[in-house]
Amino acid sequence: MPRTLDQTTQEVLELATRHFRVTPGTLAPSDDFFRKLGINSLQALELLSRLENHFSIELPDYEMQGVSDFKTLAERIQSRL
């Protein structure tokens, strides 16, 4: 059964929580991940690689232009599932 957008969003949040070792439940879909996690562009690229492996998709860098919140990130992933 295909994932819903809500499920994808939840998985993105869980993966980011684990990857950046933040307290579970502190990340929300509308959060700006650069601001909330205090990460730099290189760390954001590492997260994208983790997400690609998890969802078994390719996320071209250009698709990520201007994307900085978990919800939009999940939408971009959902469109490629």
């Binding site: 650069f34 205090g38 730099n40 290189l42 071209p60 860098d61 250009y62 232009q65």
Partner: protein, 571 residues
């Protein structure tokens, strides 16, 4: 290499380069483990000329401005070639800026043509209200748009071609070749007007120290809109018949693979990426079994001794083959730019037999001012002035420290539409860099701080404290402002620069937990590299002028006499 003294423009030099090196590999474009293109100079020309002809057929003429907003890829360079061939002025913009910022710069530059990628155009189109302000913009070309995409008035780059030979439009050396934006305070656009002479002279100077030739492969990672990559990732290699390698993804794992796969000769990185590379290598070395680790450390020590006076690449490659093969075995130097690099990082790579060409430059100076010539390698300085660069320390103090000033044919002609700003930046022909430094007995420049109230991050981002203050607007205090800590308390270092919030509380107000929590909350909403690291409670009214603007230098003087260690409260 072409004899650039014979050329009057970038366009004419590039034209002859593609003829002279027609059979050599010019561009390789890869996406992950796939290779998108591999073009010879002849094939490059076959793609660029129909674009130039189509541009000229629309009436595009000498001096017309055309902007490129693209990630690093083959179409960036093909488009730039077409613009220069047609006598145009290139306006390279940062693809990482927001759509609103890009529109503002397009308007400021008065570009009549925009060449961009579809995902970027999708964002730009969404900010249509700003587009209306770009009255000069008459043609938009979009690359790689999906078949059914709404192009919002743009044309497909791939279909925008015309048959026939385009005219090679002549330009003089003093003509403007490009307008390169560097960030200014308060979002004020600073469009550096670079002449053909600036680029031609810089190219000769740089390639005299770090030469290119057919067969050299430069990995282009820093955005090509930056002065460094434009020079060492486009114009420099092209005038020497070398190849440029573009990656469509910059994930660290694919970048690492590219070194070995494409036998990279040179690469440019910002300090943040270089340090990340160092961390990755150190982690791998730490995993070695104790015996192998001791042997490895001994080989590194031998390499350090044998390369003390100058690099010996062939020797280092034999002593440390695993390290060098991971980088492809052909790497001659890593060029680092955009911000100051810590000496221990530079030494780490040099000890492995990988020289890092650290230097110092400004867009306004035409990229590099000083570069380490590796004769011998020095990790503690930013090197010596490039050939043709006059560098002087203005108003030196008793230790020889003063503002670094530069006079050279590579210095920009000025800021676009900003005569006052230009007059402050270039005084009697000398570019005032705003950086503080001194020369040692060997003629190496040491940078020790900034004269300006700003910081530069390891990602090469210029941060102006005034631009951070908005994040603390309406904080319930009497007044506040943000400073670069080193501007208040100079510390003779260019790394680890920090921002500080200076707060003046209302009479009788105390610093409560609620207020502190609110400061932390506001701070955390900023991007990580814009965050303040601490705050200072200041007990007096801020000095202000008649229009109530804070007199920052006077306030700074009042803060300088305080003890940094005791007044700064970390956040």
């Amino acid at each position: 290499m072409l004899d650039l003294s014979k050329y009057s423009s970038i366009g004419s030099a590039l034209h002859d380069a593609v003829q002279k090196f027609s059979g050599e590999v010019c561009l390789i474009e890869a996406d992950r483990d796939r290779e998108n293109h591999r073009l010879t100079y002849r094939e490059f020309e076959e793609r660029a000329k129909p674009l130039a002809k189509a541009l000229q057929d629309t009436g595009y003429a000498a001096g017309d401005r055309a902007s490129i907003i693209m990630t690093n890829q083959s179409k960036w360079l093909i488009s730039a070639y077409a613009i220069f061939h047609s006598g145009g002025v290139l306006v390279p913009l940062d693809y990482k800026l927001t759509a609103a910022q890009q529109w503002d710069l397009l308007r400021h530059s008065e570009a009549s043509v925009l060449i961009t990628e579809y995902p970027i155009w999708r964002q730009l189109s969404a900010a249509a209200d700003r587009r209306a302000l770009c009255t000069k913009l008459r043609l938009v070309l979009v690359t790689e748009a999906p078949a059914n995409a709404d192009l919002a008035g743009a044309q497909r780059w791939e279909e925008f071609r015309a048959a026939g030979e385009p005219a090679l439009v002549p330009r003089q050396r003093a003509d403007i070749a490009s307008i390169v934006y560097s960030s200014g305070t308060g979002g004020q656009p600073k469009g550096c007007m670079m002449t053909h002479d600036n680029y031609l002279e810089q190219c000769v100077a740089l390639t005299s120290l770090y030469p290119f030739w057919p067969g050299v492969r430069y990995l282009s990672i820093l955005p090509t809109n930056h002065a460094i990559d434009f020079m060492v990732g486009f114009f420099g290699p092209f005038t020497c018949g070398a190849a440029v390698v573009h990656l469509r993804t910059l994930r660290p794992e694919f970048v690492r693979e590219a070194f070995a796969k494409y036998k990279i000769t040179y690469v440019s990185l910002v300090p943040l990426v270089l340090k990340n590379l160092q961390k990755g290598l150190q982690a791998r070395f730490a995993e070695l079994p104790p015996g192998k680790r001791r042997l490895f450390d001994a080989l590194v020590a031998i390499n350090r001794v044998l390369t003390k006076s100058r690099p010996r690449l062939w020797l280092s490659r034999r002593l440390l083959p695993q390290v060098h093969s991971a980088f492809g075995g052909e790497l001659r130097a890593i060029i680092v730019g955009g911000a100051f690099t810590e000496p221990q990082t530079l030494q780490f790579f040099y000890d492995l037999g990988i020289p890092v060409a650290n230097g110092y430059g400004l867009t306004e100076a035409g990229t590099a001012i000083t570069v380490n010539d590796l004769k011998p390698f020095r990790a503690d300085t930013v090197g010596k002035p490039l050939p043709g660069m006059e560098v002087r320390i203005a108003n030196p103090d008793s230790s020889g420290i003063g503002e670094v000033t530069v006079r050279s044919r590579t210095v920009m002609s000025g800021y676009l539409n900003e005569p006052e700003l230009t007059a402050r930046a270039i005084v009697n022909g000398w570019l005032m860099t705003g950086d503080l430094g001194y020369f040692d007995a060997q003629g190496h420049l040491h940078l020790v701080g900034r004269k300006r109230n700003m910081i530069v991050t390891e990602e090469g981002k210029n941060i102006y404290p005034e631009d951070i203050e908005g994040a603390f607007d309406s904080l319930p205090v009497k007044e506040l402002c943000v400073f670069a800590a080193d501007y208040i308390w100079p510390r003779r270092s260019m790394v680890g620069e920090q921002l500080l919030l200076v707060i003046h509380l209302e009479p009788g107000q105390n610093l409560t937990d609620v207020l502190r929590t609110e400061i932390v909350r506001r701070n955390n909403q900023l991007l990580n590299f814009k965050r303040v690291h601490g705050f200072v409670l200041f007990a007096e009214d801020f000095p202000r002028n008649a229009s109530q603007k804070i007199l920052r230098d006077s306030l700074r003087d009042s803060l300088t006499i305080l003890d940094r260690a005791t007044v700064v409260q970390p956040l």
